[in-house]
Amino acid sequence: MTTFKTFLRIVQKNLWVIIMYTVMLVLFSIVNSSTGKGQMDFTASKPSVAIVDHDNSKLSAALTEYVKKNADVQEVSEEGDAISDALYYSDIDYVIYLEKGFSDKISNGEDFELEVKSNDSYGSYLAETIVSRFIKIAKSYAPAKEAGIAIRTNNLLENETKAELNTTLDTSGLHNAEFYYDFMNYSILAGLVFAISYATIGFRRRIVKKRLNVSSTSYKKINQDLMLCNFALAAVMLLIYTVLGLFVIGPSVVFTINGLLMMLNSVILTIFAVSFAFLLTNLVEKNDALMAIINVISIGSSFLCGVFVPMQWLPDFVVFIAHALPSFYYVDNNRIFASLEKFDGEHLMPVLVNTGILIAFTVVVIILNNIVSKKKQKE
């Protein structure tokens, strides 16, 4: 109990670290979460589009209406760098400028060039197909009166190729869950490992160690108590993250088999993190050095293993290096869980391999920990 109380006192002093990384986790997940939770039917991806209508005609209104049906039309100020900023950060994929005379040119069947601003993303490609489809069809009815063209174009555009989903999974929701649990890799490796190491290192200081050595409590008992404290802190943190996940991702996703598997995956990573934090405290004596190592490892593994940058965008040599890091197997499991529908041996095999490797990393860390611990005890 004395060990636990002391441990808790040190953790309390460093509570801000845990809070900081938790805030980051929630904010990052909210910012990166996509809309469209709980959709079981085909839902077309909607590019973000802005329309600057200087024509204000029936045809430009009809085009705007059609784009609104198929894209997220956003209001954006024409002043300053607002449009450039939005395109740069991909908040908007495509800006359409409908200049004065747009309607007349279409009605008269004249050839014209449509001015746009496109950031050349997939979203912009999609936006371009939507806009050009409307204009192509409208032009095919020219020459005619503006109102007639608008009606006939709209009538034809009511037809579209039907699409249906082969899956019953809420893929959008699971994608958000994947983001959340992936970022947890950073929060756990930075926040939890720091809190645990910082508190445990307090017991490793030479002067405290000497006092502990002459105390009636055995070294083993203290180590066991410390380990219990570490796991208790980790369990509380995981519980908080799970409760926060209910708000960020939604209970309908968290309590699916896939959501629960992601949660279980995070438990395995946490066990690794606790063992790793314990090893660190055996290897490092100074708080400054501890902070440096934790920062490099947490940020490094998050960048290399696809937490901050999706794995498919990473170069091959980075992915190859990432195989040497436990975070890789954690993130890869989340990726599989986000689309896993069949839970048979064949489909679960990659998950089992990844989990096995993650557990193997933990075992290696525990063995190393014991070796270092014994060596230090002899000293």
């Binding site: 990052f28 601003k117 490609y125 190729t161 699409a163």
Partner: protein, 356 residues
């Protein structure tokens, strides 16, 4: 001069300090470089794969086949068995399956998940359907893109990294000042009773910190430019000037933390690291979209965030040149440094102790 020499000696002997100032930003920028070296390929268009299930009884399959030959935006393959195509769909080898019923029925698309590739397939298939329904081949629309993207959005990460390196300079500032404070270190106590000008000593310490920071930033900058070949555009002088101002903001932050928080050395380091990482997070270090979201939703937050001001300053400079936005970032950074320095001076001025 003597003070400067000893201060340098003390600073460069501190391994942890040298790590945070010199090594950590270089390790991090190398990681960034590794992670982002392929990022431009992420938006390169790759035609989504779609399998068409052949049906001899459909009159539309030959018509679609003819049109597919002219469509570059789709990668079409032909299958006879729906189940084998479905296996490919489930393993994400293809993004969609187009099936045709008998007669003149238009095709139906089967997909595994909602996504941009699936939407592209559905869009193109719709366009073909509309063209067949209208009975005419549509003319292409001429489109002129007037947006000139000067750099990849991943440059924001490098900007935040430079900002982080500037703000980590706060650690040097804190340590330099702490050793002159009687309530913090033994050397501070000695300095307090010594017959030397305290102003000279403190200014000497701060100058050493600033020069050390600039040395660290120069190494980082040269590494980014010469080794990693990161392109900062044509306003290199402006970028260097802004970095020097950032280092000053870092120094002001360090002085402020040293003056305000009467806590242990390691806790001050924790405050500096925590504050810097949080500032960098809001500036887009863990994803540029975070910066845009904060700028749009809580603009005031990033107006008082030195890392965001630096990041925005670099962004403004490399995208729009020296202009109103750049100067506004510079002024806010000067204000940030000025306010922190003013408070620090107020706290540190004429400190006298009866006992310690």
């Amino acid at each position: 001069m003597k003070h400067l020499f000893y201060n340098f000696k003390i600073t460069f002997k501190n391994v942890e300090l040298i790590f945070w100032t010199f090594a950590f930003p270089i390790i991090l920028v190398t990681l960034f470089y590794a992670a982002f070296s392929n990022i431009s390929a992420a938006d390169d268009f790759v035609a989504p794969k779609v399998a068409v299930i052949e049906n001899e009884n459909s009159m539309l399959v030959p018509v679609y086949k003819q049109i597919f030959e002219k469509v570059d935006a789709l990668n079409v393959s032909y299958e006879t068995d729906f189940e084998s195509a479905k296996t490919k769909l489930e393993s994400e080898e293809i993004a969609g399956i187009a099936t045709f019923d008998d007669g003149m029925e238009y095709p139906k698309l089967t997909i595994e998940q909602n996504g941009i590739n699936q939407t592209i397939i559905q869009n193109i298939m719709t366009e073909i359907e509309l063209s067949i329904r209208s009975g005419s081949e549509f003319d292409e629309v001429k489109i002129k893109n007037t947006y000139d993207r000067k750099q990849e959005v991943s440059m924001i990460e490098y900007f935040t990294l430079l900002a982080m390196a500037c703000l980590y300079g706060a650690m040097i500032g804190t340590k330099s000042l702490d050793k002159n404070l009687a309530n913090m270190t033994a050397s501070g106590k000695r300095i307090a009773v010594a017959a030397v000008s305290k102003t000279k000593i403190v200014l000497g310490s701060l100058l050493t910190s600033y020069i050390t920071q600039l040395i660290g930033l120069t190494i980082l900058f040269v590494y980014m430019l010469a080794v990693l070949k990161i392109d900062f555009g044509e306003h290199l002088v402006g970028v260097i000037g802004l970095t020097m101002l950032g280092a000053l903001a870092g120094l002001a932050l360090g002085t402020f933390i040293s003056a305000i928080f009467k806590v242990k050395d390691s806790i001050k380091d924790g405050i500096t690291t925590g504050f810097t990482m949080l500032c960098c997070f809001f500036s887009g270090m863990m994803g540029p979209t975070v910066k845009f979201a904060i700028d749009s939703s809580f603009p005031l937050l990033n107006k008082v965030n030195p890392a965001a001001l630096l990041t925005d300053g670099y962004y403004a400079l490399t995208n729009f040149g020296v202009g109103e936005r750049f100067w506004s970032d510079v002024i806010l950074l000067v204000l940030f440094s000025g306010v922190l320095s003013f408070v620090s001076i107020k706290v540190l001025r004429r400190q006298k102790y009866d006992n310690l």
